[in-house]
Symmetry: C2
Subunit: 269 residues, 2 copies
């Protein structure tokens, strides 16, 4: 058996950044695996919204764990978005991370953004990172700073300070979502020795450009989830208003090509 943990780490040091698509349920993960993605993340926004819960509040712990336990059976390496860790206790976050490692999950995301829109203390996230590394040493621990998302005075400076502290605490990689500026991204790459993870943004650099900038991982975040819901709703609206051209309906061949991991084949409704 190949060491999937090592393999996942190595994907951050290839010729191009690891492009991590983010699933929100079993079907989306299965379809991504079927399309050839060998590593798949989860999106906490998607997991929470699918269950009718708010994101980033720790309310989706059970849904996140259940999804992780299901999709580790897919032929893909799975990294799980743990929000803030689903607990204020570093030891409890470590225990949960160990459960995920035990289940076969290869990586996690852990963030410093808090439900009230502030950042948790640097010290707290460092303690969480250290506890996770100790409890689940094989996991790729991607530490995320939300410096660009919360209203801090100088997000670039705060992001670097926090990224370096998290790296020092044992993070395998650093995730800085919300940054679009190429110089800021280059600076982060230079100041860190672990891989930098950037969120793909409409107004930010393309995947190819992020590759040139030396980024180690590019995440889709919640965009796939949001696009999925958007596509479905707009299609229904177009049908209802007769604006739908027939060619936009995915054919059965296309649908079969999705190769979703359904066992039942009889019904399509």
């Amino acid at each position: 058996m190949t060491d999937r943990f090592k393999e996942f780490h190595q994907l951050h040091h290839g010729d191009r950044p690891l492009l991590l698509p983010n699933a929100w349920d079993h079907a989306s993960a299965a379809a991504l695996a079927a399309r050839g993605f060998t590593a798949i993340g989860t999106t906490s926004l998607g997991v929470a919204a699918a269950a009718g819960k708010p994101d980033g509040t720790g309310d989706s712990r059970d849904e996140t764990m259940a999804l992780a336990r299901g999709i580790v059976r897919l032929p893909a390496m799975i990294s799980v978005d743990m929000e803030g860790g689903f607990s204020d206790s570093p030891q409890q976050v470590g225990a949960l991370a160990a459960e995920l490692e035990q289940a076969g999950v290869v990586g996690i995301n852990i963030e410093d953004g808090r439900p009230d829109g502030s950042l948790t203390s640097v010290r707290h996230l460092c303690e969480v990172i250290a506890a996770v590394r100790q409890a689940a040493p094989r996991l790729f621990v991607n530490a995320r700073t939300d410096a660009y998302w919360v209203g801090v005075g100088n997000p670039g400076v705060v992001a670097i300070e926090r990224a370096q502290a998290y790296q020092q605490a044992g993070a395998s990689g650093i995730f800085v979502p919300g940054v679009e500026d190429e110089e800021a991204i280059s600076t982060l790459v230079k100041e860190l020795s672990v891989p930098l993870n950037i969120l793909l943004l409409p107004a930010g650099p393309t995947y190819a450009r992020l590759s040139e900038l030396g980024v180690g991982r590019v995440s889709c975040g919640s965009v796939l989830f949001r696009l999925a819901v958007h596509s479905a709703v707009e299609f229904a609206w177009a049908v209802a208003h007769d604006g739908e051209s027939r060619s936009d309906l995915p054919s059965y061949a296309q649908i079969q090509a999705l190769a979703l991991d359904f066992k039942g084949e009889r019904g399509t409704a």
Copy 2:
């Protein structure tokens, strides 16, 4: 308080068929409601696949009930796809239907297709329909025959026989998925006194044409779910292969327009 049960029945007798989009999770239902759909169905394929379970086998009972209990809080009338009823006992199906009615669900789908690809006996589904009507008299009971989906000799004849039996047993409406032929649809409309529900199909009549044919309800079935997953996966693939033009990324304005029922606003990953 308006009588949502009566209102849902009446939507089957308007100038145009009730166009029922089908949700698979809370987010898709919330987004459909936000887009103005006042009645929303569920798709058993979507609910099952989202949970990594097969469709039509009754395995998704808990997921279906949990979804129903969540989305009845949305500003939309909800009809729930109960597959074969999640039980072989008509009384137990009736009890489950009563739970849904109590929760505020206005309609259900109940089908004669079985996991092994055969049709259950006419008598069995008639007993289920009667039990549901007795236990949950306000529900719109949409009885579905899978005559066109299973390999019966003459699906048109079988569909009419079954539809009439289900109507006789107390069904509020009849759902015949899989039929694309306009003459067959017209015949079904003529032979039934309750509203006929047709599944929108790529090679079948358009919504406007189904309206002309006298259909009472048009269902999207699993197509929205399948389109959602398809859109997400293809987008991720295009990003990974640099085939993605930036304009295809949904903007934040579009995303905000989705008006998903999220409470948290801080994160987008």
